[in-house]
Amino acid sequence: MIAELGLAALWLAAALAALQLVCGALATHAGEGHDLALLTRPAAILQGGLAAFSFAMLVWVFAITDLSVKLVAANSHAMKPLVFKLAGAWGNHEGSMLLWVTVMALAGVLIAAVERRLPERTMQATLAAQGFVALGFYAFLLLSSNPFERLPIPAAEGMGLNPLLQDLGLAFHPPTLYFGYVGLSVAFSFAVGALVTRQVTPEFARAMRPWVLGAWVFLTLGITAGSYWAYYELGWGGWWFWDPVENASLMPWLAATALLHSAGVLAARDALRAWTIMLGVVAFSMSMLGTFLVRSGILTSVHAFAVDPERGSFILALLAIYIGGALLLFALRAGTVSEGERFAVASREGALVVNNVMLSAVLAIVLLGTLYPLLTEAFDVRVSVGPPYFNPVGTIFVAPMLLAMAVGPLLRWRQDSLGRVNREVALVAALILAALVLVSIVGEVSLLPLIGLSLAGGLAVASLLPLGGRTLRRVPLATWGMVAAHFGIAMALFGMASDSAFTKERLAALEPGQSAEAGPWRVTLDRVEPVAGPNWTALQASLSASYKGGEPIVLTPQARSFWAPPQQTTESALATRWNGQLYAVIGQEAGRGRWQIRLWWKPFVTWIWLGGMLVALGGVLALIGRVLADLKRRSVTRRARARRDEARALVAEPAE
């Protein structure tokens, strides 16, 4: 019954999405004051409620492990801890698509209920676009991946969830990315709406910006968490593999970063109109493209998703309709959107354009590298594109972008000269050069990490310079957000460069009592013993690790065996210090009572994820700052209007 309720709610929500599309489109076509326009917002709100209800029903059948539902039988197990039962609801294809439409519908609720700044016709077009996108996803769910499908005969026991995914970090990593993707779908709807009515204005950018910022924060968190998860769970000590699935999450982030900055220019200076619209379309395209690449199995990836060519075709069709449609609209309409304000090269806008061009170039490079195997495979040549391509080619564009990022925030809007900020520029340049020289004298570091280390140093200082000479208490929240995000980038960059430059690795076969050294650490194997968890057993090594002869810390890496489904995983053990992490993994038995122990000393590696979190925090600060400023502006206009009405009423009265 619960599953049927969920399914019914899903059908109703789909019908309401269709209603939202029709009403919104007709109202847009007819212009202001059409009766149908009154239905669009309520349809969006009701649709959100129904989608959320449907998702709640799915979580419920997972919570009670209803094994007559196919999805539960295929992905859950009665013996699984509750939190992973719940996470199992979205840890699979059907459930994750339902989560996607639910979040999208809830975003629709928010726009329909709150957003009143834009001209009503643009809003109707935006909501119609939102309904159109949602409709496609409902169709996808209902026609080709129904999460509530029943089994003719209930299963005796579920198949269990892939043990690699039975991890708290991963329970929340996909939803985080989905929130990001959905935020970009809202930005997409706004872009389409503005393009339809040709009203690409600073107000449009202000209405869109919180969604882009929110999406960007979630994407940043999602990528950071995913990278950390891969780092400690896969047991390879690496944190980024340029795998198609990772690229699929990075590409929307790059596009969203560019969009964020160009929307800023549009909101503040009414410039870059067509470009911002284009980025709005591109950012969502990248989310859908990522979903397509991941779900269709068209590219080979270490992330083994349930792969199904039929679903692949369905997503490709959706992609063709939405993105193709939007690009067609862009080609037809963008020529009639006037160019907007002009600006000098040496100005804040100029720096942001450099940033946008470089980000787009990096995006193109990642996209090309990800799709290249697909292209060559069409000609029967199989290739694998990896770090030897992405790292150096990416650096060519990331390095100038970081330089623009260091100088840009110091420049004024519209027109400025580098001469005005020459002291700051000289300081940053000197810092970068000094770091270059210093690092290359101190140690043998290869070129890319060397560039990374010195740019990180320069950027860290440069990102703080916009605060210079200001009363800190009066700096706007959005500026704090920018400073935090830019500083976070510098931190993350430092972590990456330091990890690849200074990591010390050691593989040793140890008997209990013997020790090995990795960098400044001395690690002794105390014993290896079996331990048991709720649905696994493991061999656990106890290691005493001492940093530079200090007090030893106990580390317990495990080789776990799950029994539903049967699979082995490596649980690494980490000792974290402010200046890095010791990473320990237990390998196979090496014979004669010895065990393979792998050790890595990774100086400052944690700064990658701390930096990532700081970037996300910067986004949150900027979001709060923008929303507060908007609310303030809105209440000011409301009060002004009230006063005007009052005055008019006073003037009008004697005439009666």
């Binding site: 397509f292 075709s313 490709l316 193709g324 690009l327 862009f330 069409a378 694998s384 690795e505």
Partner: protein, 176 residues
Amino acid sequence: MTRWRLWVPLLLFAGFVGLAGYMLTKPKDEFVESRMVGKELPYFALRPATQDRPGVASADFRSGKPRLLNIFASWCLPCIAEARQLEALAKAGAEIDGIAIRDRPEDVAAFLRRHGNPYRRIGADDLSEVQLAIGSSGVPETFVIDGRGRIAYQHIGDIRAEHVPMLLEKLAEAGS
């Protein structure tokens, strides 16, 4: 912006959709078979890819005993997955030589330290010249070479656990 430029994104996107649509209709498990199977190995002599193993030359495969020739790279993810199976093959008595594709000595050394070293010899093929000459189009691939330097069998993709007995059988066949 001139008018025609506005159409560029749509055209690029249409190209992508066409390509992706075409690829979706193609069966996925289509491998590129080498035309060299059944023929003699072409002449090559590769320098060592690491310090602790000699390089590989085509003459090494004329010793009379069949050997495996594994094409791998330190930057290749499936190669990590098959490392354990290569280890098992080596334990079962197979003699394995490796060719590292487009790699650097320090990366190869790190890869072997991390994932095990089942190889007798490892040659460095910096420009994929030998790889292409023997008809391999990707990494990893594994060739069975009989004792007279003839390519007896080609295995494309990573070696899974179930392929280990099959490869041992192919080796035995090539030796008889």
